[in-house]
């Protein structure tokens, strides 16, 4: 009369889809909040479009490798960063939500594996992020003058963002591991915090790196977002495909796009195994000292 359960690949996929549906239901449960989120996207993009109108001319010369139009430059930066910042924060917030809502122990005692737990609690955020990207593109193209041009290669841009997403997920796992390792449960962890500052200041989301002092440009080279933004923009609006826009480009004879890809692969090879190892160590430690659950 009783039954024993084994999660095979198809069962894992079903479970994953269930997580996605649940997260979308939660996101749209409070209709007003959902609408406010969408309005937030509109206002965010409007602010940068206005800045582009007022001050775009000042940085025009620095934007030559990226088509020269500040509005397009910054809107694409925000769109690419939306996806990468989601992969940076999703493992942390997925685990945190599960912890504070009391679902962590319920999921940890279910037959789902730790990788499925991490993916399941994060995946809804990726889907939500893609929906946000769609709104950014619609508002950007229809209302705020997003112009794509030069040698447009959507596939290449997606490839770069995909590899960057993997590298950022590794960083995100490292950040999420700190929930267990140093009890970083207040909504911020040191890894995401440092990366977040570097992204804002020196990755080129909002302005080209060439306007920064050399040492800050090198700081930007320490995070994967910088390479992904550089290469993805070149794929969408770039005209001078061989222009060396990052200081690291000058060290190699290969094309800047190749250097960007090599850097992203190197980041992925380091951050994903390290992040995964740290996350597992965190779970192990939490299971040793009893900090995994709120059930007492």
């Amino acid at each position: 009369m009783t039954e024993e359960l084994r999660m095979d690949r198809r069962a894992n996929l079903r479970a994953m889809w269930t997580f996605v549906k649940r997260d979308l239901k939660i996101w749209t449960y409070f209709k007003l909040n959902f609408l406010i989120d969408i309005a937030g996207i509109f206002s965010n993009i409007a602010i940068y479009a206005i800045i582009a109108m007022v001050a775009g001319k000042a940085v025009e010369s620095s934007l030559n490798p990226f088509g020269g139009d500040y509005a397009s430059y910054v809107i694409l930066g925000i769109i690419f960063n939306e996806i990468m910042s989601t992969s940076l924060s999703a493992p942390y917030w997925g685990t945190m939500d599960a912890f504070w809502t009391g679902r962590l122990e319920i999921l940890m005692i279910s037959p789902i594996s730790t990788p499925l737990f991490v993916t399941g609690t994060s995946i809804g955020r990726y889907v939500r992020s893609l929906i946000n990207v769609a709104f950014y593109l619609i508002f950007g193209a229809l209302l705020f003058g997003l112009k794509l041009g030069g040698t447009i290669n959507y596939g290449l841009a997606i490839l770069y963002i995909l590899v960057a997403t993997i590298a950022c997920t590794g960083l995100g796992l490292m950040g999420a591991s700190l929930i267990y390792l140093i009890e970083a449960r207040g909504g911020e962890d040191p890894i995401r915090w440092i990366v977040g500052i570097l992204v804002g200041l020196a990755s080129g989301v909002y302005y080209p790196l060439s306007i920064l002092p050399q040492w800050m440009q090198w700081l930007g080279c320490l995070i994967p977002q910088t390479y992904a933004l550089d290469a993805a923009r070149r794929s969408m609006i770039g005209e001078a495909i061989r222009a060396k826009t990052l200081p690291i480009h000058g060290l190699f004879s290969a094309s800047p796009m190749m250097v960007d890809m090599a850097a992203l692969i190197a980041f992925s090879l380091v951050t994903v195994p390290l992040g995964w190892w740290m996350y597992n160590q965190g779970v192990r430690r939490a299971k040793m000292d009893g900090r995994l659950s709120r059930w007492v």
Binding site: R10, K25, R284, K287, V296
Partner: protein, 367 residues
């Protein structure tokens, strides 16, 4: 049904669903001096533990101490002990939410140290307050479907099981409501429904009726005992500090005290083991706190336990264990009268699991 397959059993596990081997768990603790401002919140038991040092000289508390026990397949097994006895920690160890410091255990034949995934696939857990883990944006039906799906059930089977659960638990009318607006009894039923969705061979229940009104507690006990345990043959390990609950439901009960299992047997055998002589229960008014000590000083008294039920009027019970009740009753009554209290009635009662607990630990369950 491709997700359900026979899982290899250990040959030695034919008869036992759970078996523990010197299972131990210790936690590092802050010394008492670091709890400034919290002193009023700490119980005597916790204060005592905060001052203890472990075998290795570190300040730590042993939550589970060398537990060796066996639970037969299909058995309803109870862990009885006061708060802080180590019941929940033992369940957390058996459900792989905690790693043991020493020893190990087999759940459905799988080692909790090495085969966590198989252990989790063999069991279900209902924790007190676990309803908080339900999704607030999903209805009762959607929540059950969510759990059915993350446990790997296919869509049709999941829907069929959910409909069955809603019917059996009398939650059909509430299927479109969100768990937040259910009564505490219904939330607990919803949790039990989760166990019924996936009929894993082993079910762990941690204080399943805590905070429930008597009617809801009755429904929960009835469902677990008659449906899950008797009808479906699910092995149940339940922790409780309600002795009546353990007495009523369990085939066997383990008495837990300070992390150790001090006795294991059927409730009847445990009670008969302490039935030496008579157990007098006196209902007394105007009781004073030192009454028990006065009675203990009389000849022919083995043990005295006093419990004041109404602190304002001083009404309560005094349970006196003695080799000969008839012989000492007059002396006990006289002592009570001398203390300004009055005896309302006297009963020669059978021992309860509370008496068993007192016999083994020297303390009351709710001390």
């Amino acid at each position: 049904m491709e997700t359900y397959r026979k899982i290899r059993r250990h040959p030695q596990m034919q008869d036992y669903a759970i078996e523990t081997f010197n299972l131990s768990k210790r936690f590092g603790i802050k010394p008492l001096e670091e709890w400034k401002g919290w002193e009023d919140q700490l119980t005597h038991l916790i204060k005592e533990r905060l001052q203890k040092k472990g075998k290795n000289g570190k300040r730590e508390t042993t939550a589970v101490d060398c537990v060796n026990t066996k639970v037969k397949r299909g058995e309803f097994f109870g862990l009885l002990g006061p708060n802080g006895a180590g019941k929940t920690t033992l369940i957390k160890l058996l459900t792989c939410l905690l790693y043991p410091d020493e020893g190990t255990a087999l759940v459905n034949g799988f080692d909790i140290r090495k085969e966590g995934d198989k252990v989790r696939a063999s069991m279900n857990v209902i924790i007190s307050g676990g309803w908080l883990g339900f999704n607030f944006a999903l209805t009762v039906q959607q929540n059950l479907e969510f759990f059915a799906r993350i446990y790997g059930l296919q869509k049709d089977l999941a829907k069929e099981r959910v409909a069955e659960v809603l019917d059996i638990l009398d939650l059909k009318d509430k299927r479109t409501e969100v768990p937040l607006y259910l009564s505490s009894g219904m939330r607990q039923k919803l949790l039990l429904g989760k166990a019924f969705l996936v009929r894993a061979p082993v079910l762990f229940l941690d204080e399943p009726t805590i905070g429930l009104d008597p009617r809801a507690a009755y429904d929960v006990r009835d469902f677990v005992k008659n449906k899950l345990n008797r009808e479906y043959g699910i092995t149940v390990l339940m922790s409780t500090h309600y002795m009546e609950e353990a007495d009523l439901l369990c085939d066997r009960v383990a008495i837990m005290h300070e992390g150790k299992i001090v006795a294991t047997d059927t409730p009847e055998d445990l009670k008969s083991s302490v039935k030496k002589g008579d157990l007098l229960e006196l209902k007394v008014a105007n009781m004073t706190p030192d009454l028990a000590e006065k009675i203990k000083g009389l000849d022919g008294i083995d043990d005295v336990v006093m419990h004041i039920t109404d602190p304002v009027s001083g009404v309560g019970t005094v349970r006196v264990r003695t080799p000969n009740g008839r012989k000492i009753l007059a002396d006990v009554s006289k002592t009570i009268e001398e203390e300004g209290a009055s005896v309302k009635f006297v009963n020669n009662v059978d021992p309860t699991l509370e008496d068993v607990f007192i016999n083994f630990t020297g303390k009351r369950l709710r001390e």
